[in-house]
């Protein structure tokens, strides 16, 4: 059961602001401020504009921006769930699995910049938060989470797989509650990397639109608290959705390109449906990965069409938030749960004229109300590390 949600994005410093912005069709992508965009093909990003300060008692020394985003968004998820470690669940029965990747890389970049600039003494503590599991360890210590702990680092599917692994650990009896999700920030490496691959759009990205040119990078923290149903009911928790299962497959196709036939993506969706014991016609909504690159969107649309047919509703939040890389699976899972709770699907900002090569029912223009019972959030990453998580409305 999902009992808590937390989010910080380019549209807001909490879930309510983010959701309001999404429903209103706002775009949080704007001029890049983290560093000079000179020399890049684009100068935009979906940066977090207003990062709330760390609460009293949170670790402050030598933490990265990704850690900061993660700790604040995770605190929101705990507050939302009302779960208190020690009171509601013993520390050894609650664990954490997060997705991570960029993590403290911006600090490591400063270390490397120091070296190549001839600085003989760049601060050696700069790279210490580079490991993707830094946020996981910080959060585990701060919230006293002594159960299973891990970090998934599969680029853009990291936090989606993290949700799946965490739920597995609960199902096999290792924990009664798990903290899942991820946070990621803009870094020179990713900005320059997608720039070098010519995968970026100079303007805010346009998922599924015929004029799309590529992605926009973004920053976010998106977290969920998962609890066993019996435990959640016992403590009177507000249950926000059911986690039903996940798919995890390897494309074995190419490091950066999707299988254009959509068959690899279709396997991922089918893997998720099998795990959730669902038929394709039971799914009402797909929160698509849809990065807005020329190659990815048609491949994903074909996968969706192949598995679910044309009746399923589809959106992408990347036109509003940008591509938040290792946090994408987490934040998009959070927003998928909100769609299940409210029956509202935010519009795909930037999609004005649907590309005929993407033959699915994309929600665009304005938010759409729909009686959603089952929803899927998909994540397709570099190397064909694909995942899809399935949630059901709590009734």
């Amino acid at each position: 059961m999902v009992t808590g949600l937390g989010a910080i994005t380019a549209l807001g410093s909490n879930l309510a602001e983010t959701w309001e912005g999404l429903i209103a069709g706002r775009c949080g992508i704007g001029p890049l401020t983290a560093f000079s965009p000179e020399g890049y093909r684009t100068g935009t990003a979906g940066e977090i504009k207003s990062l709330p300060p760390l609460s009293t008692g949170m670790p402050r020394k030598r933490i990265s921006r990704a850690d900061h985003v993660g700790l604040v968004a995770l605190a929101q998820a705990f507050e939302d769930s009302g779960l208190t470690v020690g009171r509601d669940v013993p520390p050894e029965r609650i664990g954490i699995v997060l997705g991570g990747g960029v993590s403290g890389l911006p600090d490591s970049e400063r270390f490397l910049l120091g070296i190549v600039s001839g600085d003989n003494h760049p601060r050696p503590t700069l790279p210490i938060n580079h490991p993707p599991d830094s946020t996981t360890d910080l959060a585990a210590r701060h919230w006293n989470l002594h159960g299973p702990r891990s970090t998934i680092t599969t680029a853009c599917s990291s936090s989606a797989i993290a949700i799946g692994y965490a739920a597995d650990l609960m199902r096999y009896g290792y924990a009664d509650a798990m903290v899942v999700g991820g946070s990621d920030v803009v870094a020179r490496l990713t900005y320059g990397g997608f720039n070098s691959l010519r995968s970026v759009d100079p303007d805010p990205c346009r998922p599924f639109d015929i004029r799309r040119k590529g992605l926009s990078l973004g920053e976010a923290g998106g977290f969920l608290i998962l609890e066993r149903e019996d435990a959640a009911r016992r403590r009177g928790a507000g249950i926000r959705a059911r986690f039903l299962g996940y798919g995890i497959t390897s494309d074995a196709w190419h490091m950066t390109q999707p299988d254009p036939s959509g068959s690899a993506g279709a396997r991922t969706y089918r893997s998720a449906l099998r795990a959730a014991s669902l038929e394709p016609n039971e799914v009402d909504f797909v929160n698509a990965h849809a990065t807005a690159t020329p190659q990815n969107d048609p491949a994903e649309a074909l996968a969706i069409r192949t598995v679910f047919g044309q009746r399923v509703l589809v959106n992408s939040v990347k036109g509003s938030l940008g591509h938040t890389l290792c946090a994408a699976g987490g934040i998009e899972a959070v927003l998928t749960v909100r769609s299940l709770e409210t029956g509202i699907i935010p519009p795909t900002v930037g999609c004005e004229e649907l590309d005929p090569a993407c033959p699915v029912d994309v929600v665009k223009g304005s938010a759409r109300e729909a009686p959603i019972r089952i929803a899927v959030s998909s994540s397709f990453a570099f190397g064909g590390n694909s995942a899809a998580v399935v949630f059901g409305r709590f009734e």
Partner: protein
């Protein structure tokens, strides 16, 4: 013990890219002979400084994979793909079954070299000059992905980050994937490379060994196993080389960058692993220590053993003197333990057995315990054992909890 259980795993394949080559037998022989593969590396920007590291310089991926493809890959992708290939071959799965074989990888350092090269070009020339071919290899999941692409593995794929314990964590995940029927076999590996830029940070943080300073020696390579459920391995008549019969874990109250120094966490992890494997402490023939040369952690590990074994600690051994430290080398210790069980004798401990433990290696060992410890206070313990003559008797069907609908 915390509840929770995943099935026993049959190890049916082993593949290594080690400082002593790609042959598992030669790796054991080299360790037993006390050989080292250490060289001095100068950290980036410090040409006069020399830090010893364990290297795999003699490894040539083109002996195994087409040169046209691998020449562009980063070191960890080469290590991982070849170790996976060799593990699958030794498991009799050289023509993989695509969707039914998964791969889980762990790493500290994958992507380090392309990352440093890409950023250096960005900084010293301009962003447009950065070679696009490097960028996909900067992600930590490149090794598993390249192995999957090269070998046609279409089952579950993931890369985990959990410091030095990541191989054990990946084994835990593999057990779940297999028990859930998502795959028939999973390649589990950990890989690392030694990169001079990263070494600069390690050196300046005073973590790695240097003249006049205690610390660990970084190592590189890749160590892979193929794991299956025992019943599946028996069904296809695959040779079961070892069983992974219990995995325990505990986390000490440590900061993200600190190794655990709480003996109770070591002991808790061991007790969990033993109970899940249905073994008493006295049934353990040897323990592979996570000790990497840093005194406070080694003392905590020793005190943890005292809590579980009292005055009768089994033979202890550590092979990090030969393999180095890192996610990959820690997997290497487990792989050496598995191979040594199969061979029937353990390579000597060139670093000397732990004071208070049995001094002589056990003859014909059958059950061992492998320690993994990492920053963040992470501890895993993994019970490895030689398969019994009548394997069917140990195959216990595991009740799988249904997914909630």
């Amino acid at each position: 013990m915390k509840p929770g259980k995943t099935p026993r795993l049959a190890v049916t394949g082993i593949g290594v890219v080690s400082p002593f080559g790609t042959d598992v037998g030669e790796l054991l022989d080299a360790i037993a002979a006390g050989r080292f593969a250490i060289k001095d590396v100068s950290p980036t920007g410090s040409p006069d400084r020399k830090i010893p590291v364990v290297h795999c310089d003699s490894f040539d991926a083109t002996e195994f994979l087409p040169a046209m493809r691998v020449r562009r890959w980063d070191p960890c992708s080469r290590f991982a793909a070849v170790s996976s290939l060799l593990a699958l071959r030794s498991a009799g799965l050289s023509t993989p079954g695509g969707e039914r074989i998964g791969i889980l990888a762990g790493t500290w350092s994958a992507g380090a070299t392309p990352l440093a090269d890409f950023l250096s070009t960005m900084y010293t020339v301009n962003p447009e000059a950065a070679p696009p071919i490097l960028f996909p290899f900067t992600v930590a999941n490149a090794p598993a992905s390249q192995a999957a692409i090269e070998l046609g593995l279409k089952g579950p794929i993931s890369t985990l980050s959990h410091r030095s314990v990541v191989f054990a964590d990946s084994l835990l995940y593999a057990g779940i994937l297999l028990a859930d029927g998502r795959a028939d076999a999973v390649v589990v590996l950990a890989t690392d490379e030694v990169n001079p830029t990263y070494l600069r940070a390690w050196d300046e943080l005073r973590i790695v060994v240097a003249p006049g300073r205690e610390g660990f020696v970084l190592g590189e390579g890749s160590y892979a196993v193929v794991v299956e459920l025992p019943e599946m391995a028996l069904r296809r008549k695959a040779p079961i080389r070892a069983l992974i019969s219990g995995i325990g874990f505990a986390h000490a109250d440590s900061g993200p960058h600190e190794y655990g120094r709480d003996p109770a966490a070591f002991a808790a992890s061991d007790r969990e692993a033993l109970q899940r494997a249905n073994h008493s402490p006295s049934e353990i023939d040897f323990i592979v220590l996570s000790d990497n040369g840093r005194t406070p952690e080694a003392q905590a590990e020793r005190d943890g053993l005292d809590q579980v074994w009292k005055s009768s600690i089994p033979y202890t051994v550590r092979w990090k003197t030969a393999l180095g430290e890192g996610a990959g080398p820690c997997a290497g210790q487990a792989v050496v333990a598995i191979a040594a069980l199969e061979r029937g004798n353990l390579p000597h401990d060139r670093g000397g057995a732990l004071p208070g433990s049995k001094l002589a290696p056990p003859e014909n060992p059958t059950v061992g315990l492998v320690h993994f410890s990492g920053a963040g206070g992470a501890h895993f313990s993994v019970v490895v054992e030689r398969p019994s003559e009548s394997m069917e008797t140990i195959v216990i069907p595991l009740p799988i909890l249904p997914l909630q609908k």
